[in-house]
């Protein structure tokens, strides 16, 4: 099922260059005279009863295309299941055998096996070597066509199409943007704790297609995506002292950001991608700076003898949340993007760090340390409404799904290596991500362009 694409850089070039055409699928099926409300999953509640969705193996005229059809359906099912908002109806239970895309399904056959939504699709080999992948989504009880698209792409790009279809289904049924056509960059870890090898690795959101971006010689930490998902900023010991780097995923080139007298770390992109905000430490005093990536002009945002680090922009770019121990222990502070109006927002028990502003703007995720344990939680930007989602011996470094509904972080057991986990904002659906090695410092990409 996890079919790893070989030729890693080539695979990424393909991913970038996907020319996909999205056209509303054929004529809408006439809606029956039903007054039933629109099929809808409420994403803000915990889901003890996920919506049952049937995803049929995509039909095809040739065996190779049929294999793609089975793989696409399987990736969609896995995505929907992992979200915990949906349950994939077991294909063994299907009664109707879908044989054509242009004929509406026999809704009764799907109602009887308790499917509330149905996805059908088709894979067609095109004369130019590409494939066309189409899908349609139906509301079974309303007997209604909901949405459908057609994508043309190279055959080895089927997995991204499966993720885009998953996003379409998620969006149609929840009313929110999906997060399946995304990637995770993280730090791959190996070796003994006293001589750890840490390398940048990137993979699809579901763990497919993992590959290294950097070698074993230089320790790297804290990668983060640019809003275009084409650049990654991270910290590396490659040149000796800690330095903020930029890695270009299109060219596979990396460069040091700026020429600073001290060490630079804790970088993050501004939401417009035009600057990177980071920490510059000069002789033991960590301050927050921002650098414009085009003019290379730097501006200083904090000026305080305490530690000021871990800056993260609000999605509108107007504010920055950061970590400071100016009050005696590490706590969260918010300031305007020009550094003015610095004020503390965390007042609970414990030590707060690694703040990350939600892409929706309504919450800030953080790591809270107290009572010998580390927790991942969220609070509103004014510090109210604090809620802990999960805790363990060490939970650290939250990162948001692009729709602000899921948080990834890393978890380390006592004396154990780290692994990446995800949890819904509801506090449910805790899951470990499959990574080829031990892994820390995850960063979730935006939806891919």
């Amino acid at each position: 099922m996890m079919r790893v694409i070989k030729g890693i850089t080539a695979a990424f070039a393909l991913l970038c260059a996907v020319a996909w055409t999205a056209t509303p699928a054929a004529a809408q099926t006439p809606a029956p005279a039903s007054t039933q409300g629109r099929l809808h999953v409420d994403i803000t509640e915990g889901h003890l009863n996920p919506m049952p969705v049937a995803v049929v193996d995509f039909i095809a005229a040739s065996p190779p295309a049929a294999q793609v059809g089975r793989d696409v359906a399987q990736v969609i099912r896995a995505n929907l299941e992992r979200s915990s908002l949906f349950r994939s109806v077991a294909p063994a239970a299907f009664i109707e055998r879908i044989q054509a895309m242009d004929v509406p399904p026999r809704f009764g056959d799907w109602r009887i096996i308790d499917a509330q939504a149905l996805t059908v699709g088709q894979v067609t080999a095109l004369p130019d070597g590409r494939v066309r992948i189409e899908f349609k989504l139906y509301d079974i009880f309303a007997e209604q066509f909901l949405t459908g698209f057609s994508y043309s792409t190279t055959p080895d790009n089927w997995r991204r199409i499966a993720h885009r279809i998953s996003d379409q289904i998620y969006e149609q049924l929840t009313g929110e943007r999906g997060y399946f056509d995304t990637r995770i960059v993280f730090v791959s870890e190996s070796g003994p704790r006293t001589r750890r090898v840490k390398r940048l690795m990137i993979m699809d959101q579901d763990g497919a297609n993992p590959f290294f971006l950097t070698g074993p010689d230089a320790m790297v930490l804290t990668p983060r995506f640019s809003p275009s998902a084409q650049l990654i900023t991270y910290m590396s010991y490659e040149t000796g002292a800690p330095r903020v780097f930029l890695y270009n995923l299109e060219t596979n080139r990396r460069e040091v950001l700026g020429d600073f007298p001290g060490m630079t770390f804790a970088p993050r992109f501004a939401p417009d991608g035009n600057d990177v905000v980071f920490t510059l430490d000069m002789n033991g005093n960590a301050e927050i700076f921002a650098m414009d990536l085009r003019s290379r002009q730097r501006r200083r945002l904090t000026n305080h003898p305490a530690i000021d680090t871990s800056p993260s922009y609000s999605p509108d770019g107007a504010q920055v949340v950061f970590n400071s121990d100016r009050g005696g222990s590490p706590q969260l502070y918010v300031m305007a993007a020009d550094g003015s109006g610095q004020r503390r927002i965390s007042f609970g028990d414990g030590r707060y760090s690694t703040p990350v502003w939600s892409p929706r703007g309504d919450l800030i995720a953080f790591t809270r340390q107290g009572g010998g344990r580390f927790a991942i939680g969220v609070m509103r930007p004014d510090g109210s409404g604090e809620r802990i989602l999960t805790e363990s011996y060490l939970d650290e470094a939250p990162t948001w799904s692009p729709n602000g509904r899921v948080i990834m972080f890393f978890r380390e057991g006592r004396g154990e290596g780290p692994r990446i986990w995800s949890i819904d904002l509801t506090g449910r659906n805790l899951r470990q991500l499959p990574t080829p090695t031990e892994a820390s410092d995850p960063a979730w990409s935006p939806l891919l362009p």
């Binding site: 002789n283 033991g284 760090s353």
Partner: protein, 165 residues
């Protein structure tokens, strides 16, 4: 008092390590004053600095203030560095794992700066030293307990050049 004993044991165990320090959970059995013995390290060597002087100082949790212990080690370092003026140092700050990564990078930088500034106040030229922070990335002791954490909160004065070989 207990902490002091732990730190002393840690200094001894660190001193007993090879140049790439390996974790030694049990305290070293030999006394740290190895230089007094006839077959001590070559004077002016990295080994001499490490064993006779002590190349690490230790800190309390989330602290960067120098303890009395730390000051006396740094005073010995400064005296040794005055004796061997060609030696250059990399002063590296380290933290235990009970903090988050970026905060610990900043805390390690504070520890390295505290050690460097004290050496400067004792007459060691600032241009003989560089500082770096490894945060919680380079623990000396891999274990996850108080004893290991107390050892991992340190500043390491590492000789990079100029020692007698």
């Amino acid at each position: 008092m207990r902490n002091t004993l732990i730190v002393l044991a840690a200094v001894a165990s660190v001193a007993a390590c090879a140049s790439r320090p390996e974790p030694t959970p049990t305290p070293a059995t030999q006394p740290p004053a190895a230089a007094e013995r006839p077959q001590g390290p070559v004077p002016g060597s990295i080994e001499d600095f490490r064993v006779s002087v002590g190349d690490r100082i230790f800190f309390g949790y989330d602290q960067f203030a120098l303890t009395t212990e730390a000051r006396s080690v740094l005073e010995r370092q400064a005296a040794w560095l005055r004796q061997y003026p060609g030696v250059r140092l990399l002063v590296a700050g380290n933290c235990d794992e009970r903090g988050t990564r970026e905060y610990n990078l900043a805390l390690g930088a504070r520890r390295a700066a505290a050690a460097r500034d004290f050496l400067i106040s004792l007459g060691v030229a600032g241009n003989r030293m560089e500082t770096v922070s490894y945060g919680k990335e380079r623990p000396l002791d891999p274990r996850a307990n108080e004893e290991a954490w107390s050892v991992n909160r340190n500043s390491h004065s590492q000789i990079v050049s100029g020692a007698v070989s």
